[in-house]
Symmetry: C2
Subunit: 140 residues, 2 copies
DNA sequence: ATGATAAATGTAACGATTACAAATGTGGAG
DNA sequence: CTCCACATTTGTAATCGTTACATTTATCAT
Protein backbone atom coordinates (compact mmCIF):
# COMPACT_ATOMS: atom_id res chain seq x y z
CA UNK A 1 0.00 0.00 0.00
CA UNK A 2 1.29 3.45 -0.90
CA UNK A 3 0.53 6.55 1.10
CA UNK A 4 0.74 9.49 -1.28
CA UNK A 5 1.74 12.21 1.08
CA UNK A 6 5.06 13.81 0.29
CA UNK A 7 6.91 14.42 3.51
CA UNK A 8 10.32 14.84 1.92
CA UNK A 9 10.48 18.57 2.51
CA UNK A 10 9.35 18.14 6.08
CA UNK A 11 12.27 15.85 6.78
CA UNK A 12 14.83 18.01 4.99
CA UNK A 13 13.68 21.09 6.87
CA UNK A 14 14.48 19.25 10.07
CA UNK A 15 17.89 18.01 8.94
CA UNK A 16 16.74 14.44 8.61
CA UNK A 17 17.82 12.70 5.44
CA UNK A 18 14.73 11.47 3.61
CA UNK A 19 15.61 7.81 3.28
CA UNK A 20 13.13 5.40 1.77
CA UNK A 21 12.20 3.92 5.15
CA UNK A 22 11.84 7.26 6.91
CA UNK A 23 9.63 8.60 4.13
CA UNK A 24 7.38 5.55 4.31
CA UNK A 25 7.08 5.68 8.06
CA UNK A 26 6.33 9.39 8.27
CA UNK A 27 3.92 9.39 5.35
CA UNK A 28 2.12 6.45 6.90
CA UNK A 29 1.59 8.53 10.04
CA UNK A 30 0.61 11.60 8.01
CA UNK A 31 -1.85 9.68 5.86
CA UNK A 32 -3.48 7.49 8.46
CA UNK A 33 -3.51 10.00 11.31
CA UNK A 34 -4.35 7.21 13.68
CA UNK A 35 -2.21 6.56 16.73
CA UNK A 36 -0.36 3.43 15.82
CA UNK A 37 2.04 1.35 17.85
CA UNK A 38 5.40 0.27 16.46
CA UNK A 39 3.86 -3.14 15.90
CA UNK A 40 1.11 -1.68 13.72
CA UNK A 41 3.47 0.51 11.70
CA UNK A 42 5.83 -2.38 11.15
CA UNK A 43 3.10 -4.81 10.11
CA UNK A 44 1.57 -2.44 7.60
CA UNK A 45 4.85 -1.34 6.04
CA UNK A 46 6.62 -4.67 5.88
CA UNK A 47 4.53 -5.56 2.81
CA UNK A 48 6.04 -2.60 0.97
CA UNK A 49 9.51 -3.00 2.43
CA UNK A 50 10.13 -6.69 3.00
CA UNK A 51 13.53 -6.06 4.56
CA UNK A 52 12.14 -3.58 7.09
CA UNK A 53 13.35 -3.99 10.64
CA UNK A 54 11.56 -2.97 13.80
CA UNK A 55 14.73 -1.28 14.95
CA UNK A 56 14.47 1.02 11.97
CA UNK A 57 10.94 1.89 12.92
CA UNK A 58 12.04 2.70 16.45
CA UNK A 59 15.05 4.68 15.28
CA UNK A 60 13.04 6.70 12.80
CA UNK A 61 10.26 7.48 15.25
CA UNK A 62 12.74 8.63 17.86
CA UNK A 63 14.34 10.90 15.29
CA UNK A 64 10.94 12.34 14.41
CA UNK A 65 10.13 12.91 18.07
CA UNK A 66 13.39 14.73 18.69
CA UNK A 67 12.72 16.92 15.66
CA UNK A 68 9.21 17.65 16.93
CA UNK A 69 7.54 16.06 13.91
CA UNK A 70 5.73 13.43 15.93
CA UNK A 71 4.51 13.17 19.51
CA UNK A 72 4.66 10.02 21.64
CA UNK A 73 1.51 8.95 23.42
CA UNK A 74 1.57 7.05 26.71
CA UNK A 75 -2.12 6.39 27.00
CA UNK A 76 -1.43 2.68 27.04
CA UNK A 77 0.26 1.23 30.03
CA UNK A 78 3.24 -0.33 28.34
CA UNK A 79 3.16 0.43 24.64
CA UNK A 80 3.95 3.78 23.13
CA UNK A 81 1.76 5.15 20.38
CA UNK A 82 2.77 7.85 17.93
CA UNK A 83 0.81 10.88 16.84
CA UNK A 84 1.47 12.91 13.71
CA UNK A 85 -0.61 15.77 15.11
CA UNK A 86 1.75 17.69 17.39
CA UNK A 87 -0.72 20.43 18.28
CA UNK A 88 -2.13 20.66 21.80
CA UNK A 89 -5.06 18.27 22.04
CA UNK A 90 -6.33 15.49 24.23
CA UNK A 91 -6.79 11.79 23.65
CA UNK A 92 -9.68 9.59 24.63
CA UNK A 93 -9.39 5.82 24.75
CA UNK A 94 -12.41 3.53 24.91
CA UNK A 95 -11.73 0.86 27.51
CA UNK A 96 -14.05 -1.51 25.64
CA UNK A 97 -12.96 -1.40 22.00
CA UNK A 98 -9.64 0.38 22.38
CA UNK A 99 -10.35 3.10 19.84
CA UNK A 100 -8.43 6.30 20.38
CA UNK A 101 -10.03 9.64 19.54
CA UNK A 102 -8.64 13.15 19.51
CA UNK A 103 -10.45 15.98 21.18
CA UNK A 104 -9.84 19.67 21.60
CA UNK A 105 -9.53 21.12 25.06
CA UNK A 106 -8.46 24.01 27.18
CA UNK A 107 -6.36 23.39 30.25
CA UNK A 108 -6.53 25.92 33.07
CA UNK A 109 -3.61 25.29 35.31
CA UNK A 110 -3.79 27.00 38.65
CA UNK A 111 -1.11 29.65 38.22
CA UNK A 112 -0.46 30.11 41.90
CA UNK A 113 0.78 26.61 42.41
CA UNK A 114 2.81 26.59 39.20
CA UNK A 115 4.42 30.02 39.28
CA UNK A 116 8.14 29.80 38.63
CA UNK A 117 7.77 26.61 36.61
CA UNK A 118 8.46 26.46 32.89
CA UNK A 119 5.95 24.14 31.26
CA UNK A 120 7.14 22.83 27.91
CA UNK A 121 4.68 20.05 27.27
CA UNK A 122 1.12 19.26 28.24
CA UNK A 123 -0.53 15.87 27.91
CA UNK A 124 -4.15 15.01 28.53
CA UNK A 125 -5.72 11.64 28.16
CA UNK A 126 -9.09 10.29 29.21
CA UNK A 127 -10.61 6.86 29.37
CA UNK A 128 -14.19 5.66 29.26
CA UNK A 129 -16.74 4.33 26.82
CA UNK A 130 -17.33 5.48 23.27
CA UNK A 131 -20.94 5.93 22.03
CA UNK A 132 -20.94 2.68 20.10
CA UNK A 133 -19.79 0.59 23.05
CA UNK A 134 -22.30 2.34 25.32
CA UNK A 135 -25.05 1.33 22.86
CA UNK A 136 -23.88 -2.25 22.81
CA UNK A 137 -23.81 -2.44 26.58
CA UNK A 138 -27.44 -1.31 26.79
CA UNK A 139 -28.57 -4.06 24.43
CA UNK A 140 -27.14 -6.84 26.56
CA UNK B 1 10.93 2.61 59.30
CA UNK B 2 7.33 2.63 60.40
CA UNK B 3 4.62 4.72 58.83
CA UNK B 4 2.00 5.35 61.45
CA UNK B 5 -1.05 5.71 59.30
CA UNK B 6 -3.73 3.15 59.94
CA UNK B 7 -5.21 2.04 56.67
CA UNK B 8 -6.79 -1.14 58.00
CA UNK B 9 -10.33 0.17 57.78
CA UNK B 10 -9.71 1.47 54.29
CA UNK B 11 -8.73 -1.99 53.12
CA UNK B 12 -11.59 -3.76 54.89
CA UNK B 13 -14.12 -1.33 53.44
CA UNK B 14 -12.90 -2.38 50.00
CA UNK B 15 -12.99 -6.11 50.71
CA UNK B 16 -9.24 -6.43 50.79
CA UNK B 17 -7.84 -8.46 53.66
CA UNK B 18 -5.44 -6.27 55.62
CA UNK B 19 -2.37 -8.47 55.50
CA UNK B 20 0.89 -7.24 56.96
CA UNK B 21 2.40 -6.53 53.55
CA UNK B 22 -0.65 -4.75 52.17
CA UNK B 23 -0.88 -2.55 55.24
CA UNK B 24 2.76 -1.57 54.97
CA UNK B 25 2.53 -0.80 51.26
CA UNK B 26 -0.62 1.28 51.50
CA UNK B 27 0.47 3.17 54.60
CA UNK B 28 3.78 3.91 52.92
CA UNK B 29 1.88 5.55 50.07
CA UNK B 30 -0.47 7.34 52.45
CA UNK B 31 2.36 8.65 54.61
CA UNK B 32 4.86 9.64 51.94
CA UNK B 33 2.38 10.93 49.38
CA UNK B 34 5.13 10.95 46.82
CA UNK B 35 4.76 9.11 43.54
CA UNK B 36 7.00 6.11 43.98
CA UNK B 37 7.87 3.38 41.54
CA UNK B 38 7.66 -0.28 42.53
CA UNK B 39 11.43 -0.22 42.87
CA UNK B 40 11.26 2.61 45.43
CA UNK B 41 8.48 1.03 47.42
CA UNK B 42 10.27 -2.28 47.51
CA UNK B 43 13.62 -0.79 48.53
CA UNK B 44 12.13 1.21 51.37
CA UNK B 45 9.98 -1.59 52.75
CA UNK B 46 12.40 -4.47 52.44
CA UNK B 47 14.19 -3.24 55.57
CA UNK B 48 10.99 -3.74 57.56
CA UNK B 49 9.96 -6.92 55.78
CA UNK B 50 13.11 -8.79 54.80
CA UNK B 51 11.16 -11.50 53.00
CA UNK B 52 9.24 -9.01 50.88
CA UNK B 53 8.94 -9.88 47.21
CA UNK B 54 8.48 -7.47 44.34
CA UNK B 55 5.65 -9.63 43.08
CA UNK B 56 3.79 -8.90 46.30
CA UNK B 57 4.28 -5.18 45.75
CA UNK B 58 2.91 -5.49 42.22
CA UNK B 59 0.00 -7.68 43.33
CA UNK B 60 -0.97 -5.38 46.17
CA UNK B 61 -0.76 -2.23 44.06
CA UNK B 62 -2.92 -3.79 41.36
CA UNK B 63 -5.47 -4.73 44.01
CA UNK B 64 -5.45 -1.16 45.32
CA UNK B 65 -5.89 0.23 41.82
CA UNK B 66 -8.86 -2.02 41.11
CA UNK B 67 -10.43 -0.93 44.39
CA UNK B 68 -9.84 2.70 43.51
CA UNK B 69 -7.55 3.31 46.47
CA UNK B 70 -4.56 4.23 44.34
CA UNK B 71 -4.06 5.67 40.89
CA UNK B 72 -1.35 4.60 38.46
CA UNK B 73 0.72 7.32 36.82
CA UNK B 74 2.22 6.93 33.37
CA UNK B 75 4.24 10.13 33.32
CA UNK B 76 7.39 8.08 32.82
CA UNK B 77 7.88 6.32 29.57
CA UNK B 78 8.29 2.82 30.87
CA UNK B 79 7.88 2.75 34.61
CA UNK B 80 4.58 3.12 36.39
CA UNK B 81 4.32 5.33 39.44
CA UNK B 82 1.59 5.10 42.06
CA UNK B 83 -0.40 7.94 43.60
CA UNK B 84 -2.33 7.72 46.86
CA UNK B 85 -4.24 10.87 45.93
CA UNK B 86 -7.06 9.68 43.66
CA UNK B 87 -8.69 13.09 43.27
CA UNK B 88 -8.57 14.88 39.91
CA UNK B 89 -5.27 16.69 39.67
CA UNK B 90 -2.38 17.10 37.30
CA UNK B 91 1.25 16.06 37.54
CA UNK B 92 4.31 18.00 36.55
CA UNK B 93 7.67 16.36 36.01
CA UNK B 94 10.93 18.30 35.83
CA UNK B 95 12.94 16.95 32.91
CA UNK B 96 16.14 18.00 34.67
CA UNK B 97 15.87 16.66 38.22
CA UNK B 98 12.95 14.29 37.81
CA UNK B 99 10.88 15.69 40.66
CA UNK B 100 7.16 15.16 40.32
CA UNK B 101 4.75 17.80 41.62
CA UNK B 102 0.99 17.80 41.92
CA UNK B 103 -1.05 20.72 40.72
CA UNK B 104 -4.71 21.58 40.65
CA UNK B 105 -6.41 22.24 37.34
CA UNK B 106 -9.62 22.57 35.49
CA UNK B 107 -10.08 20.75 32.20
CA UNK B 108 -12.54 22.16 29.73
CA UNK B 109 -13.27 19.48 27.22
CA UNK B 110 -15.01 20.65 24.10
CA UNK B 111 -18.45 19.12 24.63
CA UNK B 112 -19.40 19.10 20.98
CA UNK B 113 -16.70 16.69 20.00
CA UNK B 114 -17.20 14.46 23.03
CA UNK B 115 -20.98 14.27 23.23
CA UNK B 116 -22.14 10.68 23.60
CA UNK B 117 -18.92 9.63 25.27
CA UNK B 118 -18.77 8.53 28.88
CA UNK B 119 -15.56 9.81 30.42
CA UNK B 120 -14.56 7.87 33.50
CA UNK B 121 -11.02 9.03 34.01
CA UNK B 122 -8.98 12.12 33.22
CA UNK B 123 -5.22 12.31 33.30
CA UNK B 124 -3.06 15.38 32.85
CA UNK B 125 0.68 15.52 32.97
CA UNK B 126 3.13 18.23 32.04
CA UNK B 127 6.86 18.38 31.63
CA UNK B 128 9.32 21.23 31.88
CA UNK B 129 11.71 22.80 34.34
CA UNK B 130 11.12 23.39 38.03
CA UNK B 131 12.18 26.74 39.57
CA UNK B 132 15.31 25.30 41.15
CA UNK B 133 16.58 23.79 37.90
CA UNK B 134 15.77 27.00 36.03
CA UNK B 135 17.92 28.89 38.57
CA UNK B 136 20.79 26.46 38.17
CA UNK B 137 20.67 26.75 34.40
CA UNK B 138 21.01 30.53 34.57
CA UNK B 139 24.14 30.26 36.70
CA UNK B 140 26.00 28.13 34.18
C1' DA C 1 35.36 2.67 -9.45
C1' DT C 2 36.65 3.70 -4.67
C1' DG C 3 36.42 4.86 -0.18
C1' DA C 4 34.16 7.51 3.63
C1' DT C 5 30.05 8.16 5.91
C1' DA C 6 25.28 7.42 7.14
C1' DA C 7 21.42 4.31 7.45
C1' DA C 8 19.29 -0.15 7.92
C1' DT C 9 19.29 -4.64 9.65
C1' DG C 10 19.32 -8.70 12.92
C1' DT C 11 20.47 -10.45 17.15
C1' DA C 12 21.21 -10.06 21.77
C1' DA C 13 20.47 -7.60 25.97
C1' DC C 14 17.66 -5.00 29.10
C1' DG C 15 14.04 -3.69 32.33
C1' DA C 16 9.37 -3.53 33.91
C1' DT C 17 5.73 -6.50 34.56
C1' DT C 18 3.18 -10.85 34.84
C1' DA C 19 2.51 -16.08 35.10
C1' DC C 20 2.98 -19.79 37.72
C1' DA C 21 4.06 -23.18 41.07
C1' DA C 22 5.74 -23.88 45.64
C1' DA C 23 5.93 -22.27 50.37
C1' DT C 24 3.84 -19.94 54.04
C1' DG C 25 0.17 -18.01 56.71
C1' DT C 26 -4.74 -17.87 58.40
C1' DG C 27 -9.03 -19.30 60.25
C1' DG C 28 -12.65 -22.52 61.03
C1' DA C 29 -14.46 -27.41 62.09
C1' DG C 30 -13.91 -31.26 64.68
C1' DC D 1 -5.05 -28.28 69.88
C1' DT D 2 -4.89 -30.42 65.32
C1' DC D 3 -6.11 -30.77 60.75
C1' DC D 4 -7.59 -29.09 56.52
C1' DA D 5 -9.13 -25.71 53.05
C1' DC D 6 -8.10 -21.53 51.31
C1' DA D 7 -5.80 -17.05 50.68
C1' DT D 8 -1.46 -14.75 50.50
C1' DT D 9 3.29 -14.45 49.74
C1' DT D 10 7.39 -15.71 47.60
C1' DG D 11 10.95 -16.80 43.94
C1' DT D 12 11.81 -18.00 39.44
C1' DA D 13 10.93 -18.03 34.83
C1' DA D 14 8.58 -16.07 30.98
C1' DT D 15 6.81 -12.10 28.38
C1' DC D 16 6.98 -8.00 25.85
C1' DG D 17 8.36 -3.40 24.41
C1' DT D 18 12.45 -1.14 23.68
C1' DT D 19 17.43 -0.28 23.10
C1' DA D 20 22.52 -1.54 22.29
C1' DC D 21 25.56 -3.04 19.25
C1' DA D 22 27.96 -5.10 15.50
C1' DT D 23 27.38 -6.20 10.66
C1' DT D 24 25.62 -5.28 6.23
C1' DT D 25 23.90 -2.22 2.88
C1' DA D 26 23.16 2.18 0.70
C1' DT D 27 24.66 6.92 -0.54
C1' DC D 28 27.56 10.17 -2.48
C1' DA D 29 31.65 12.95 -3.37
C1' DT D 30 36.15 12.35 -5.29
Amino acid sequence: MIYDIDVTEELIKNNIKPSYQRLKILSYLAFKRNHPTVEQIFNELVDDIPTLSKTTVYNSLNLFIQAGLVKPLNIEDHETRYDYDTSDHGHFKCIECGTIKDFSLKIDIDNDSMSGYEILEKNVYCKGYCPRCLENKKKI
